[in-house]
């Protein structure tokens, strides 16, 4: 008995001792309290931090703070606007013919678009051992012997670090890395269509790599500087030129992604030394950049830490914004040097409940990525503005909304004999389903209103998207009381009857119409969504069979054109309508050409208009073309246009300068934190409740006491 009591005591004392001086449930080290640190969370471990390989949003959350491509999106301005980051200005294309002579944009001889990029001088890399040089200017770590590597397990174990100025060569080197035979760049396929000579370079490098393997030098450093890339020309120390095939106005958008960030040749060589990869000392794990932050702790299983780059050049806070930004206090820090925050701690949070609760307790400053768990925190007011619940408002929690440059859709496979194809029957059937699928209800149930029912493929905030009456999908909506209203289900039933399935039964055979939805939703949490789809179809009298499969099988089916209907989404690479409308291009058909047109839609008229629209500058003419294209899509209904998700990010009152930006992920440098307020609030909200502990102790005593007595009595009896 005594042992139990002692154990409890030890437990209590140790708990108290560690909790001394702070709230008990603070998940961070006591030493960090009061520091200018931003606390954030991530869900999926980043797989790649090498700028050539990384493509996912989670990875961008880290990489965008570290790497600086030549361009970036303006933090405050909408619609999204490209502004220079390391470049002096946003490059304008110069069009040339095959021989390199300048030609007019509409010239039939046009062969290339040339972009000349000048970077600002004086930009310096973060301190890094690869850039360390001795007094004579020689690298400190040119060749590392196994002995020298013995005590080294992480990048911080190298004693010497150095820096150097950013030069145009670094950008050229990185573009060559897109073709590196040992790296997988997700955009290599696409870029090799555009950047002159990239494909040839990849072939040369592959052959060279094979030759090295045959010579027994597998894995040795492949110095890309020794191979020329036709499309990239370094003009001088600060200037380089990119040559792109054809007319490609959207190309500068790519220059705002980390694929086009600089990587110094020294760094590449440093990491290629034998023994480095075995110790995980790779660029994929330790990014090196010129940005405001550098990665100082990389433990993707639990914690990632970014710290201020001491060599950051002192970019300043933007001076312009939208009219409402001034009132929102977003223009209070104009001209101040960035960044404001010293350190960013990302903690891995796989489960929704802890994530959400920690945010409420004040241990996360913002909710980062909007997740399903934040549903109930947000309410939409009569005016359609988002607001937090009264309880949360009292706590000073704010909500920021932005419509994602993305769309979620319900696709009908154009190749399917029942729902696909250009017949009037199938078209009516698709239209009927489009009317019956009540996306407004879907949004309100599954996204708590975090979305806008889509009228067409182009997301709001992107050129070509139409607001108001002229923007509605006339096949599905009516305009009523200044709002689009979904047509009644009777209309859907009528369309279905016209398609030859009155009441959901084949008029000819009397057989019930059964449609098949393929989905990757097969987790237990997805059941309600599947039930919802079934409910929508049963309102039409149509039976919906749902085939849940794993992700691979699903992709395989879609790729083979074997899926009848499926739900999918698209996140824009860049804010241009071309990046949405190309999803319907016949030549992008997934089943035929392995493209991005998953519905395999094909319509020659649409394709013709697309080619015309693609390279136009934004203006009334382009808008008119887009309107026609969207009308074709609405009529043919290869998709039931689902919704454009809205991102709601919640933040506490002590955060400042937060404006969600769908395209740019490098926003941390603009944000600031009122640390004192945070410390106060955390202490207020997290007072430990002690009575349960006392109650538990009492209960134990109450249970043990009679036992003890009866035991004593018994021992006394056996003794006598």
């Amino acid at each position: 008995m005594r042992a139990h009591g002692r154990l409890l005591l030890i437990w209590l004392v140790t708990t108290l001792a560690t909790a001394c001086g702070q709230t008990w449930n603070d998940p961070y080290a006591a030493a960090d309290s009061g520091a200018n640190i931003l606390y954030s969370a991530f869900t999926d471990r980043p797989k790649h931090l090498d700028p050539v390989q990384s493509y996912s949003e989670d990875e961008a959350g880290f990489n965008a703070q570290i790497y600086e491509p030549p361009l970036q999106y303006h933090y405050l301005k909408r619609p999204y606007t490209l502004v220079p980051l390391t470049a002096a200005d946003v490059p304008k294309p110069v069009f040339t013919d095959a021989q390199g002579h300048p030609v007019a944009e509409d010239s039939p001889r046009l062969a290339f678009s040339v972009f000349q990029i000048s970077i600002k001088p004086g930009i310096r890399y973060q301190p890094h051992p690869a850039l360390a040089v001795d007094g004579a200017g020689k690298p400190v770590y040119p060749t590392l012997s196994p002995e020298a590597l013995r005590g080294i397990h992480a990048m911080k174990d190298f004693r010497h670090t150095g820096t150097r100025e950013l030069v145009a060569d670094d950008y050229a080197y990185q573009i060559k890395r897109l073709a590196h035979p040992r790296l997988h760049s997700p955009i290599f396929g696409l870029m090799s269509e555009y950047i002159v000579g990239l494909r040839e370079l990849a072939e040369t490098l592959r052959a060279e790599d094979r030759r090295m393997t045959e010579q027994g030098r597998a894995g040795e450093w492949l110095d890309l500087a020794q191979y020329a890339l036709d499309g990239v020309e370094v003009v001088d120390r600060y200037t380089y030129r990119l040559r792109v095939k054809g007319r490609y106005r959207q190309f500068p958008y790519w220059l705002a992604m980390s694929f086009f960030a600089p990587v110094p040749r020294e760094v590449d060589r440093f990491h290629a030394q034998p023994g480095m990869a075995e110790k995980n000392l790779t660029l994929d794990w330790y990014p090196v950049g010129t940005g405001p932050y550098m990665l100082t702790e990389n433990n993707p299983n639990s914690r990632m830490v970014l710290e201020r780059n001491p060599n950051f050049r002192g970019e300043t806070y933007p001076s312009e914004g939208q009219p409402e930004d001034r009132a929102g206090g977003l223009l209070a820090d104009v001209g101040k040097p960035l960044p404001f925050i010293d350190k960013v701690v990302f903690t891995r949070e796989k489960e929704g409940i802890p994530y959400w609760n920690k945010f409420q307790q004040g241990y996360y400053d913002a909710s980062g990525i909007a997740s399903d768990n934040f549903d109930q925190a947000v309410r939409i007011s009569v005016e359609g503005d988002a607001n937090v619940t009264p309880d949360m408002e009292k706590k000073g929690i704010r909500v920021e909304t932005s419509v994602a440059t993305a769309t979620r859709y319900f696709a009908f496979n154009w190749l399917d004999p029942v729902v696909g194809g250009d017949s009037e029957r199938a078209r009516k059937l698709r239209q009927a389903v489009s009317v019956a699928l009540d996306w407004e209800e879907f949004i309100s149930i599954f996204a708590n209103g975090r979305g806008i029912a889509a009228q067409g493929p182009v997301a709001p905030g992107i050129f070509g998207h139409r607001e108001g009456r002229e923007g509605i999908n006339a096949q599905v909506y009516e305009w009523e009381n200044g709002r689009p209203r979904r047509k009644p289900i009777a209309e859907a039933r009528r369309l279905l009857a016209e398609a030859g399935y009155p009441g959901g039964r084949d008029a000819a055979s009397g057989e019930p119409l059964v449609l098949y939805l393929d989905t990757t939703d097969r987790g237990p949490g997805d059941k309600s969504r599947l039930d919802w789809y079934r409910k929508q179809f049963s309102a039409l009298g149509v039976q919906l069979e749902i085939r849940g499969t794993d992700y691979n099988r699903f992709q395989d089916k879609v790729r083979k054109g074997a899926a009848q209907m499926f739900v999918w989404g698209w996140n824009a690479d860049y804010p241009d309508p071309e990046n949405f409308l190309f999803l319907f291009q016949g030549s992008q058909s997934r089943a035929r050409f392995q493209g991005e047109n998953a519905a395999n839609y094909s319509n020659p008229e649409f394709d013709r208009l697309f080619e015309q629209m693609k390279h136009m500058e934004n203006g009334p003419q382009r808008q008119a073309l887009i309107d026609r294209m969207v009308a074709i899509l609405q009529h043919d209904a290869p998709w039931s246009f689902g919704y454009h998700p809205k991102d709601y990010s919640l933040r506490h009152e002590w955060t400042g300068n937060v404006k969600p930006n769908q395209m740019a992920r490098n926003g941390v440098k603009y944000q600031k934190i009122d640390v004192d307020l945070r410390t106060r609030r955390r202490a207020e909200w997290n007072q430990p409740v002690l009575w349960p502990l006392a109650g538990l102790a009492l209960l134990l005593v109450a249970a043990v006491w009679p036992l003890l007595r009866s035991w004593r009595r018994r021992e006394a009896m056996t003794a006598t």
Binding site: I353, P512, P524, G525, K527, S528, E545, R547, R553
Partner: protein, 479 residues
């Protein structure tokens, strides 16, 4: 309508047949018979058995599947056309629960939705309010004023009907007992009350009293309300919980049913033959045992999934596909859990082999297989029975955990695991949506508790010493 027999249905009825056969066999086997009488005398055991029987009735009703006939469309009506939707007798009984869906969450017995929504007035202006439910409490004109009274009335009516049914039930039991023992009704009644009967009728009747007092009001209330609230897409939680019972029973019983032949045959063979056979069988189960259970299950479930996907044409309806997956899950769980029983049987067979009558039978030249079937198997039956009842609860709990890991039942299948998983996220809501979780908790708790108590009673009656050697089948699946 046209009846549909799913694979698990067939197996459930096969199980029922096996159980009946075993019951019949027990009547004529003095040892088993006296053991069963001991179970009958255990109050906890009989109370648990009563509960399990009720669950079993729900599960069996839910195993009588059919496809409803569609009303003829054209009028010529030459050929009957059936819906693709597969329903069960339980669905038919609970049509009200099944069809009266709301839009989204509503609290138990509520008349309004749980969350506020923008509602449009007739004149087109909008305001925020909790909208009325489509079905829950629609008969009330002025819910705030009438709600409590209506609930109380329905509750009282339900409780009274429950009590009435219970009295009839108790009367029937007392009458039959009185006739059999040829004593007066009053005496019998007092005996039952004092627990003075061979079968613990007082426990059975008390359990029924509790059940009816709950079920009566629930039935009366369910007529007009959602007794346990509604879930995210507005389905009645009570309906979900009832439908989950079958899945739990299927997992708990069929898994052991499918693994029994292997475990019994291999266990007895290993123990009886010894030598090479024993080596091979031991090797087999040590190998399977050494693979971490969850991982083996994960791999096997994924493989099943691929198989089902690539043979989609074999399954006419979603119900059949979900059923195939459920059955596959049973097989896979069985595959990973037969080793414990097999080892136990091997040990016992090893001992039995040395007994005189087995030696004698060998000396007389009785064939090996005959010896195993006639002399070993009957003497090992009690171990098999104990293992079956003890595994049941572990398997029901395992299903929930597997569903969490994403390798459980098909998302179209109602199950406690699916419910818990959906409800898990609801706890993070503000205000908390607690009813799905509580419903799943209560149903699962009662089911597993009853199973555990019954297993204890069976074990105590058949072989109290075996407990120390059976460590449960779930060690691999435990979180």
């Amino acid at each position: 309508m046209t009846p549909v027999v799913l694979w698990t249905d067939a197996l459930i009825f096969a199980l029922l047949a096996v159980a009946s056969a075993f019951g019949w066999y027990s009547r004529h086997n003095p040892l088993l018979r006296s053991a069963w009488q001991k179970v009958g005398g255990s109050r906890a055991g009989m109370a648990a058995l009563t509960l399990l029987a009720v669950f079993a009735v729900v599960g069996l009703l839910d195993s009588l599947h059919y496809r409803p006939r569609l009303e003829s469309a054209g009028g010529d009506g030459e050929r009957a056309v059936y819906s693709g939707e597969v329903l069960s007798a339980l669905d038919a009984l609970a049509t009200g629960l099944r069809s009266r869906g709301e839009k989204t969450y509503s609290a138990p017995l509520a008349t309004h939705l749980f969350a506020r929504e923008t509602v449009e007035r007739a004149d087109g202006t909008q305001f925020r309010a909790h909208p009325r439910l489509r079905h829950g409490g629609v008969h009330l004109d002025d819910p705030p004023a009438q709600h409590a009274a209506d609930l109380a009335r329905r509750f009282a009516a339900g409780a009274l009907s429950g009590a009435a049914i219970w009295m009839v039930l108790a009367g029937v039991v007392a009458l039959r007992l009185a006739r059999r023992e040829s004593v007066g009704l009053g005496v019998t009644w007092r005996r039952i009350w004092r627990g003075d009967t061979a079968v613990a009728w007082n426990a059975v009747l008390a359990t029924f009293a509790a059940l009816l007092l709950v079920a009566g009001p629930v039935i009366f209330l369910a007529d007009a309300y959602h007794v346990l609230g509604t879930d995210k897409v507005g389905q009645d939680v009570l309906y979900l919980a009832l439908k989950s019972v079958r899945t739990a029973l299927v997992i708990g019983t069929l898994t052991t049913l499918v693994m029994l032949p292997f475990a019994v045959a291999l266990g007895i063979m290993a123990g009886y033959f010894g030598g090479r056979v024993d080596d091979v069988i031991q090797y087999l189960y040590t190998t399977i045992n050494s693979i971490p259970g969850v991982l083996l299950i994960a791999a096997a479930v994924l493989m099943m999934q691929v198989f089902i996907d690539t043979h989609a044409q074999w399954f006419a309806t979603a119900a059949e596909r979900a059923d195939a997956r459920l059955l596959a899950l049973c097989f896979i769980l069985g595959l990973t859990s037969w080793t414990g029983l097999c080892r136990l049987l091997r040990g016992e067979a090893l001992k039995l082999r040395e007994l005189d009558y087995v030696q004698a039978a060998q000396a007389f030249g009785v064939s090996q297989w005959r010896i195993m079937a006639r002399h070993l198997l009957p003497n090992l039956m009690h171990i098999v029975l104990i293992a079956v009842v003890m595994d049941f609860s572990a398997l029901v709990l395992a299903e929930a955990v597997l569903s969490y890991v994403g390798i459980g039942v098909d998302p179209n299948t109602f199950s406690f695991g699916t419910m818990i998983n959906a409800a898990r996220l609801e706890l993070a809501r503000e205000p908390v949506v607690w009813w799905s979780l509580v419903a799943a908790f209560v149903f699962m708790f009662v089911l597993v508790l009853a199973a555990n108590l019954f297993a204890d009673a069976v074990r105590d009656a058949f072989d109290p010493r075996i407990a120390a050697r059976v460590t449960g089948a779930d060690s691999g699946v435990k979180g």
